[in-house]
């Protein structure tokens, strides 16, 4: 075991972040495209063009989400247990929305009936917009703390309700998530389609990008003055056997700003968030969508890391029993499991990036109506 336990616990916090970011910039982009589908495609041919820009890739991209789920199961079992069972109905909502995607992509164009196709177009919209919203809402709730506690045998109990999750701050977080992914999807469409779709996509990128910048700024102010954070008062040493019942945590109104105060370098994350989004909108307006796509991916990374860095080491704070909060030091798997999983991730993530890049390069071109018509029986 090359890394000590303490280091691995931190590395896994980073790796889960990497998987979330990987999900957001790839599959999140596809969700943005799904969200825009009914609005950007004015007729069936245009909608098929939009779908086929992500057609070859959405399936592979979705595995970022699946792997992030599996990694949380393996690296933070209690987080997986408490969050998925606690957010039961929100998870169901995301899950059922996700159902529309595989079937929507694959089945939509297999039958020519306009009602059938329209149904699946809206299905792809739901499959894009609803999970984007729900995942943002989940983040918004994590920032405020979740009403749960653990018993002496570490069984998690959730004492909130589904509608309790839909509070104003969480809804704002949901809109940030939806806004940034829609912007990202719009820039992708600007890059991969021709006019008139590309021009419409540019308009949407501007509107959603500016909206997200505003919402992100509002959320920042809200966290600074209106949201209580959590602070660890005492806990065992960082490399100790993970046990979430052995620390003391208090609610502290300025706790979510503490990391930015103590480690000013973390301020780069919110700066990246604003600059990335702003830069992406500017590049999109100049017609430089390729660079814009990369910059908007950086912006998304900045936004996700802003939330992560504010909360670190907290993953899932408990609002009702703060000392039961799950943190990066005490909610992890064993040293051996984290080691095995670390090497699996270190070996396979670069390989995945390599072959994913290859598939994008092979399929790279602007998708046109003429091409869709030529490949009618094969295209989505």
């Amino acid at each position: 075991m090359i890394f000590d336990f303490e280091t691995l616990k931190f590395l896994w916090w980073v790796l889960v972040g990497v998987l979330f970011i990987g999900f957001a910039v790839t599959d999140g982009m596809d969700m943005g495209v799904g969200t825009l589908l009914p609005f950007l495609g004015k007729n069936d041919d245009e909608r098929r063009v939009i779908i086929n820009t992500v057609g070859p890739h959405w399936d592979g991209n979705q595995v970022w989400l699946i792997t992030a789920g599996g990694a949380i199961f393996a690296a933070w079992p209690l987080v997986y247990a408490a969050a998925f069972s606690g957010f039961y109905f929100a998870m169901l909502l995301a899950l059922f929305a996700l159902f529309f995607r595989p079937v929507g992509f694959d089945y939509r164009s297999k039958i020519a009936d306009p009602r059938w196709r329209s149904f699946w177009d809206w299905g792809l919209f739901v499959g894009g917009a609803v999970p984007a919203l729900v995942f943002g809402i989940a983040f918004g709730n994590l920032l405020q703390g979740v009403p749960f506690h653990l018993d002496e045998f570490l069984r998690p109990y959730y004492t909130g309700s589904f509608f309790g999750l839909l509070n104003p701050f969480a809804l704002l977080a949901g809109l940030i998530s939806l806004g940034m992914l829609t912007m990202h999807g719009a820039i992708w469409l600007q890059l991969r389609t021709e006019d008139p779709i590309a021009t419409r996509a540019k308009q949407w990128a501007k509107v959603t990008g500016l909206f997200t910048i505003g919402a992100f700024a509002l959320a920042g102010i809200w966290v600074s003055i209106g949201i209580d954070g959590f602070r660890v008062v005492s806990m065992p040493e960082l490399g100790a056997t993970p046990n979430p019942l052995t620390k003391e945590v208090v609610i502290d109104p300025s706790a979510w700003l503490a990391n930015y105060r103590d480690y000013p370098v973390t301020l780069l994350f919110p700066i990246l968030g604003f600059a990335g989004l702003g830069g992406a909108v500017a590049l999109s307006l100049q017609g430089r969508a390729g660079l814009g796509l990369i910059v908007s991916g950086l912006g998304i990374t900045g936004i996700i890391m802003t939330a992560g860095a504010a909360m670190f080491p907290f993953i899932m704070p408990s609002s009702t029993m703060p000392s039961n909060s799950l943190i990066a030091w005490d909610a992890t798997s064993s040293h051996l499991t984290l080691t095995v999983m670390f090497w699996a991730a270190a070996i396979f993530i670069p390989i995945i990036l390599l072959y994913t890049t290859w598939t994008y390069r092979r399929m790279w071109r602007r998708v046109t109506v003429a091409e869709i018509k030529a490949q009618d029986s094969l295209a989505y």
Partner: protein, 550 residues
């Protein structure tokens, strides 16, 4: 104590969504290799019909795969949603193969599947074949990791309980990988998937032959399917699952339940071919026994005995009592009374902690269980025998039927007369559902036969569930039933539509329905009757826009 109605509903939900998921998995596992075979022939010989075969069966593969992905999402979400204590208790071990499955296998499969469908015009022949091959490798590796995870539920090796973290922790990743139960399960399950793919292609090809259309296409497809299918069914049967039943208590119980063997019989044991097992009476009514057969099937020998259920329950009673002591010391340790004496006493009985937890169904504190509660826990330390007994026989019957059919199909196909055997073609057509019956009953034996355990000897199902209400799970179960039924109807509609249309759905102009349409257009109404076979040249009216090979 958890609400028992909630636990029952959670089990129904998991069982139904898992079995539903497995309607799509085996076809993916098998059909993908058939696509590899067909496309390899295309690349080697350059004959277009093999490309058409790859594309057409690939289309059906895609319709199936979409629901495989959809329903697979549920599986991942559901452990955390409905089995949160399970997720906490074994995530350290069970989570690892699931996560590695994503990283190593599912990424590979899913990334290349998009290029399989949409990359025909943008990849060279060899590149496209490589894509198909990687997709096949990905799907099969995926099955391997899932079965390593499942094998650990049946026979939890390479791990130990930690009272400090209150969960199972991995002690050896290699042992987890090389778990003998996982290994036999992998071979058995993927080979069963190959049979499913073969029966599917053979059955639909038989339909085209019965209709006398697209004969060249159908005969070639049938050939590939029966060859691949026969090899696969022989693997399934010869390499069966039995060798995995020798390790671990849970597997022994399952074996005894499969055979409805209540009393330990001296070796070599008889095989109960028929009967009505009853857990109440601890006996099998109207049993018809075949001497020696069980010993041969289960232990591959004539001198090893198969332990009966009553003896296993006696062993369980001892372990439940030992588990009560383990629970008692666990409570002390959790309260902070951490000293050498308590640790030593706990470690002595730790292996039986799971048996102690069986009492949680009846009492909050297993250490203080009454004699009556212990007897109840002993009673349900084995599964309901009759469903396991019957499901196994249905599976075996389906397997033998497919062996027979594939042997005949292979024989007549090799003699090149299969198209003249309508009875056999009809048997293939109507046997399309049989591999699914075998796969579903097989999984039922494996999972229902594991009860009362979620993780064999470690974690009872009754405490593995989340702290939800029965109403919560009722709602989600209802939603799954409604949604999944709709998806199933849509999927079947598309399968039948494209199955009936056959290769004409590729719009190459070379196949039956399009030729018929072209003839109608060319000769006007009342044209000459269709020639039937695929021997006639391509009609001039059909557009040949996609002829470029690469």
């Amino acid at each position: 104590m958890l609400d028992s109605a909630m636990i029952e509903l959670s089990r129904w939900q998991f069982a139904s969504t898992a079995m539903y998921h497995f309607l799509f998995v085996p076809l993916t596992l098998g059909l993908v290799w058939i696509l590899v075979i067909m496309e390899s022939v295309y690349v080697m010989t350059g004959r277009e019909i093999y490309r058409d075969m790859t594309k057409f069966w690939g289309k059906l593969f895609g319709i199936n795969f979409a629901l495989g992905v959809t329903t697979g999402l549920t599986m991942e979400f559901q452990f955390g949603m409905n089995w949160s204590y399970y997720s906490h208790y074994v995530g350290d071990v069970f989570g690892a193969p699931l996560a590695i499955e994503g990283l190593m296998a599912f990424f590979l499969e899913s990334t290349f599947i998009g290029l399989f469908f949409l990359g025909w015009e943008r990849l060279t022949k060899r590149q496209h074949l490589a894509v198909t091959f990687l997709m096949a490798i990905g799907s099969n590796l995926s099955a391997m990791w899932i079965l390593i995870a499942n094998g650990w539920m049946q026979n939890p090796v390479g791990s130990i309980f930690s009272f400090e973290t209150m969960r199972m922790e991995m002690t050896s990743f290699t042992e987890l990988l090389l778990n003998p139960v996982a290994q036999v399960k992998f071979v058995h399950t993927v080979a069963a998937g190959y049979v499913t793919g073969a029966m599917f292609v053979a059955g639909i090809s038989a339909y085209y032959m019965l209709k006398g259309r697209d004969m060249a296409f159908a005969k070639r497809s049938f050939s590939v399917a029966v060859g691949f299918g026969l090899a696969s069914i022989l693997s399934v049967i010869l390499l069966g699952d039995e060798s995995g039943y020798e390790v671990g208590d849970v597997q022994k119980v399952k074996l005894a339940a499969i055979e409805a063997e209540w009393e330990t019989e001296s070796a070599p044991a008889a095989f109960t071919a028929f009967g009505f097992p009853s857990n109440e009476d601890e006996d099998t009514h109207m049993a018809v026994k075949i001497p020696f057969a069980l010993g041969l099937i289960a232990t591959r020998s004539l001198d090893e005995e198969v332990v009966g259920l009553k003896d296993l329950m006696r062993q369980h009673e001892v372990r439940i009592r030992s588990g009560m002591i383990a629970y008692d010391y666990l409570q002390r340790l959790r309260k902070g009374e951490d000293n050498d004496y308590n640790r030593g006493a706990f470690e002595e009985h730790m292996g039986d902690l799971g048996y102690g937890l069986l009492l949680k169904r009846y009492t909050e504190n297993p250490a203080e269980a009454t004699e009556e509660q212990i007897q109840m826990a002993v009673k349900d330390s084995i599964p309901q025998v009759a469903p396991v007994f019957w499901a196994f026989r249905i599976m075996v019957g389906a397997g033998i039927w497919m062996l027979l059919l594939l042997t005949l199909g292979f024989y007549y196909n090799a003699k090149r007369v299969v198209q003249n055997k309508p009875w056999l073609l009809r048997a293939f057509l109507y046997s399309i559902p049989v591999p699914w019956i075998a796969a579903e009953t097989g999984w039922f034996v494996a999972e229902f036969g594991r009860q009362p355990w979620a993780i064999g000897e470690v974690l009872p199902t009754s405490i593995a569930a989340s702290s939800l209400t029965a109403g919560d799970v009722m709602f989600s179960l209802g939603a799954f039933v409604v949604f999944y039924t709709a998806l199933f109807l849509i999927e079947m509609y598309l399968m039948f539509k494209f199955g009936r249309m056959g290769p004409s759905s590729l719009h190459t102009g070379r196949y039956y329905h399009e030729k018929q349409a072209a003839k109608q257009a060319g000769h006007g109404a009342g044209a000459s009757p269709g020639a039937g076979s695929g021997a006639s040249p391509a009609p001039a009216t059909a557009p040949s826009k996609q002829e470029s090979g690469d």
